[in-house]
Symmetry: C2
Amino acid sequence: MKVGVLCIGDELLKGAVINTNLAYMGQRLLEIGIMPELCLEVPDEPHDVVQALEYALQHADFIITSGGLGPTADDLTKQSIADYLHMPLELDPAAEKAVRDRWNSLKRGALPLNFLNQAYIPHGAKALLNSFGSAPGIYITTPASKRIVMLPGPPSELHPMFDNQLLPILKEQLDTRIYTRLFHISGVPESRVEERTIPIIQANPGLSVAYCAAPEFVKLFLKTTDPDCLAKAEKMVRAEFAPELLHDSSHTVAEEVILLLKERSAALALAESCTGGLIAKLMTDVPGSSEVFFGGVVSYANSAKQHLLGVSAGTLEKHGAVSAECAAEMLQGAAEQFGVPCAISVTGIAGPDGGTPEKPVGLVYIGVKCFDQVLVKEYRFRGSRAQVRERTAAVSLNTLRRMLLGEHLS
Amino acid sequence: MKVGVLCIGDELLKGAVINTNLAYMGQRLLEIGIMPELCLEVPDEPHDVVQALEYALQHADFIITSGGLGPTADDLTKQSIADYLHMPLELDPAAEKAVRDRWNSLKRGALPLNFLNQAYIPHGAKALLNSFGSAPGIYITTPASKRIVMLPGPPSELHPMFDNQLLPILKEQLDTRIYTRLFHISGVPESRVEERTIPIIQANPGLSVAYCAAPEFVKLFLKTTDPDCLAKAEKMVRAEFAPELLHDSSHTVAEEVILLLKERSAALALAESCTGGLIAKLMTDVPGSSEVFFGGVVSYANSAKQHLLGVSAGTLEKHGAVSAECAAEMLQGAAEQFGVPCAISVTGIAGPDGGTPEKPVGLVYIGVKCFDQVLVKEYRFRGSRAQVRERTAAVSLNTLRRMLLGEHLS
């Protein structure tokens, strides 16, 4: 089965909204061995929607659309596709009840006329229940036995509908499976990952390999139609990259750190200056992190460094806030204040302003404490403010990960 | 001029990478009045790349591609497009020098053969300098006078190349301009924004309007080919939504809060429990935030709430950490510890676990202090862990924004 994705909305093409729906659907499809053949983003224009649908139908037999199902005047997906397929819209009683119930639960007065438009479904199509929003999804089988499923655009509505309603439909229709595996390899540049993967590719005809470098790690994808080939290749990857592989359950280095902290019954605290809460945010993105993550101080102002972390006035005066000495005292302060054996401190200049010839933008000091091991290092990161902050967070967490694995770093 | 975008990479379709390049390019194009006609994401397969290019060329006369220019075996964009256009690849001396210099600056030993592939450019095309990576961009004029610009996929390379090299090329070729304006309207539901915009649409024939609801605000887009129509419509929007409009320079509520704090010469501190650093991260995403943002405490553990924020043991015992009483003490603690007139505190249950019948997932207490005004309110947010955290952050910052504007809330 070939899947095509169609994401509808001016906001995607104007950059007002990042298309996270494609990434979400891609991840969920991959879990059942499907990679979409293509995705198209098109404006809220019937002509564009229909042209893109025609193109997608040439390359796929199961089309998923997102967006354009809501009550406003720019929501044109349903009407456009129904017109194209000559399926008149009809009021669906179950959908009408759901839409009315939804409106009543919002307690906003009388039902506006346009709101009820959402309950009209193409003749012969099936409405898919939306428990987190007002617009039902729509499931169509075309005269040529192709399938079209329309889902609403807001991720909070699309995710549960994708999981609970679309995935079961897809699984029913699978013919040949693609077997895939994703590895997260930490601390190895992409080109080295590729070199070290060559023998694995050569030993496994039919195996397809892709790489993707992220700030935290290189992602290595294996893909094949042969499950035995995948098993053999997987074994070889695990042997080759043993010390550098994250656990399969970890999708971020923060998740890996939390897992390792739990294994060692240790807890972590943070003292963040230039990352300004980013590392804490990454840690607390992970459900259950509270078991091993006690908290942190975002010490943006120098007074906070002194008052909340015990950095000495002398250190700030003599070495400045962006210094190895300050990072060391912040590290000590965080561990003491939160009473934990593991801590990370960061202080640096994220930019774009605030750099000097001696202390340029990108200069960052990272302190990491893991039980008795304490390391404070200087880094010079390149890139934008966001990149300097991301890289600082990635290096901090990766350093702690390696220490938690028992490496002795210097 | 019609622009089409082609983003190449299995990782986009597998959801391993979110396509932020489209959003970036969309925003930058909008600033010169262009909305792309369409975007396609396709796998790293020559056949798919060429088919998508053909489709894009049917709908646009200026194609921008991203991805697939690197040194690894899955980087096939350049070769695929060169083959399709019958333009043999040739070693470009300037590109070769840049690629060699880049490799040498990385200090990783002898130049690998595949790395030099990046210096081969289609005959007749122009190489575009890449100051932040190794793969040059490529600028092609086709025999049918269409333009194709290929850019590398990593955002850190694409962004500066887009701004410094592609934008000047695009501006040269503009014929009819589209005039656009984007407004951020805070605290009004999307359907109300639409209703209140109807008179503006009716008064301005030729004006096209789109809406987009984000957690923080509704984005309202105006588009027209007539600059006078845009000016008139803009005036009407400003009158209609005066109290709810963010400043034009603010792209986030955090930016708006920072602007208002600067206007009032006030500073802010945070005490975050369930948001775990997210609000601090949003504040410090903004360059120059250090002037008015002094820092925060991420008090994930109860001991941190007591020790660093002065929450009393009695409050935690009697009311629990997720309570209005705890939020009030956290708020007071943050303001005192950092010595600031404005503070935000949040404590709640972000989920997916940790909820009880009395205190379900989504229950959040938000405290906001703005000089003498102090407000602690209970919220029940729906959605995933990430959504509960996002909404908590959005509501917190918006509440402070309104207080800073002088509203008296209860």
